[in-house]
Amino acid sequence: MATPPNVSSADFNRAIAAWKQTVGADWVFTAPEDVALYRDAYSPYWGEPEERVASGAVAPSTVEQVQAVVRTANQYKIPLYAISTGRNLAYGGSAPVYSGSVVLDLKRMNRVLEVNERNAYALVEPGVNYFDLYEHITKAGLDVWIDPPDPGWGSVIGNALDGGGGWTASPFRDHFGAHCGMEVVLANGEIVRTGMGALPNSKSWQHNRWGFGPWVDGLFRQGNYGVVTKMGFHLMPRPECMQTLTVRAPRDEDLIPLVDTLNLVENQHVVNGSTSLGGGQPGAGGPAGPAGWSVTMPIYGPEKVVRAQAEYVKEKFAKIAGSTFTEGELIRTPLDAAALARVRKTSFGIPDLSTFGLLGRNAANPSPPGGHVDFSPILPRTGEAVLEFMRLYREKLPELSENGALRILGPVFMTNWDRTMVALLMFPIGRDPQMNGRMRNAFRKWVELCAERGWGEYRAPAVFQDDVAKVYSYNNHALRRFRETIKDAVDPNGILSPGRYGVWPKHLRKS
């Protein structure tokens, strides 16, 4: 049995005994074959000494059990690493950031506590994934949609806390932004409810996110100041229909008005769906010449309104000379079987795992290495930024992808969120340490190259979180130091998820 760093075997055994009393012996895992299930299946350090691995796992099923587990960890100064469903694949999975931590596995806290159709919200526990919530709503016959991300098996809470996003309408697809109220167990075992939830018998915990006084929810996004045990989310009333509009423009210089116009119709909330930007890929277009650029824009809403909005969008893009405008099929909801078979399910609030097919073994890639990690720099939403990124990409790709040998996928310009885009690159990861090492080098180089240009990642795999946190260095790392000050105050023993997103407790900080 492995032991957490700086914890004696005797103390670890006492803690394990206490945890078994708390959650039951079946839900404390120390056998190597059980602990191995918490390895990050897509670890860029798989099988190497630097791989982040747990020393054990404990799985409470109630908030009271979470409190007791945390108090025991505090007593023996044992680092915990909280996971919700442990499916943060490509960003660390269920493995801790700090090797030797005990995983606090919240998967058994899997209750959908409330779904309210009249005010369109849900209150859930961390072990609830998107499939669970969708099934709950469907079985109850409620006329609200969830906003699924690509991994339907991901935790609704976990995805929001890691900064994830989905594929339906704004503002629901910014998952942290769509949350409303949370319950948190602090390092001392105390329960805090945020926003209106601090009012005993509150009638509006999931209605108003702000409450009274300083708003603290953001501390728990990508944070390690507490264990989130409940969280509310606003849901979208089922829209009457969805229609996707597409505009194509042939030249690189068209990209600038194309993105500006996209921004205008999105910021006006005329286009509310998850838009996408296509084109600019090296070699695209074929013998007919450059393929140019395109934007696709889904609009959700009542049919009359959507048709009027489509007309408005068409007028705005018509100002770009040479552009073409296409109206896609207007798809009414609820979907019938024929529509369900041809649409992208996640765009209609239905969770699935289809994206894993693009990244796993498929006809185009019959021998993939297995997993991947995502590189996700945030760019401002301008055509100039896209062109600058593409210039950088073309300039550096031969060196950083080893002339294509690393098979780095992307960039995909993801315009899920207002005013920004993510220039996503996906790095294949497998079981070959030598190849993984080359991927790691390339990944870290991309972090530096982007930081030099003012682009930072919104999220990063656990093993790269220090690398990314390091470039957010304004005023001699003032933000990191502020976060550390808070960490020391609320978790003086540093037991909660040490190192998560670059925030380390005092005794583990490097000089």
Partner: protein
């Protein structure tokens, strides 16, 4: 696997609340399969497991898991606990040992020993 489905549908038909925690009871093999396996291994578009096995076997073996006759319960259990390629392993908080046994038997129901 404990699972709370709608417990109370109010007269307005608009709100559901969860029950208190249910006693742990292992789900049937079919229920475990539907919960954890169908999203990747069903027939048709958008099933990465099926797509992967189609490419791997090129039609020599069925791509849909439940059509396979060569998978023993032991083999199924091993894949669930170790994962393969982009499929991660499943932890005991997701699929308990009892549920693993049930789902392995369910998937291997057509298994014909060579």
């Amino acid at each position: 696997m404990k699972r709370i489905i709608s417990a109370l549908l109010l007269t307005c038909g608009a709100i559901t609340f969860a029950n208190a925690a249910e006693p742990a009871a292992p789900a049937s093999g079919e229920a475990v399969y539907k919960r954890w396996c169908t999203h990747c291994h069903s027939a048709g578009r958008g099933n990465p497991g099926t797509e992967s096995l189609q490419v791997k076997y090129g039609g020599k073996l069925p791509a849909v898991l439940l059509d396979r006759t060569d998978l023993s319960a032991q083999a199924v259990a091993t894949f669930v606990r170790t994962g393969v390629l982009s499929m991660p392993p499943f932890r005991k908080t997701e699929v308990t040992d009892a549920e693993l046994k049930a789902v392995a038997a369910y998937v291997a129901q057509k298994y014909a020993k060579p």
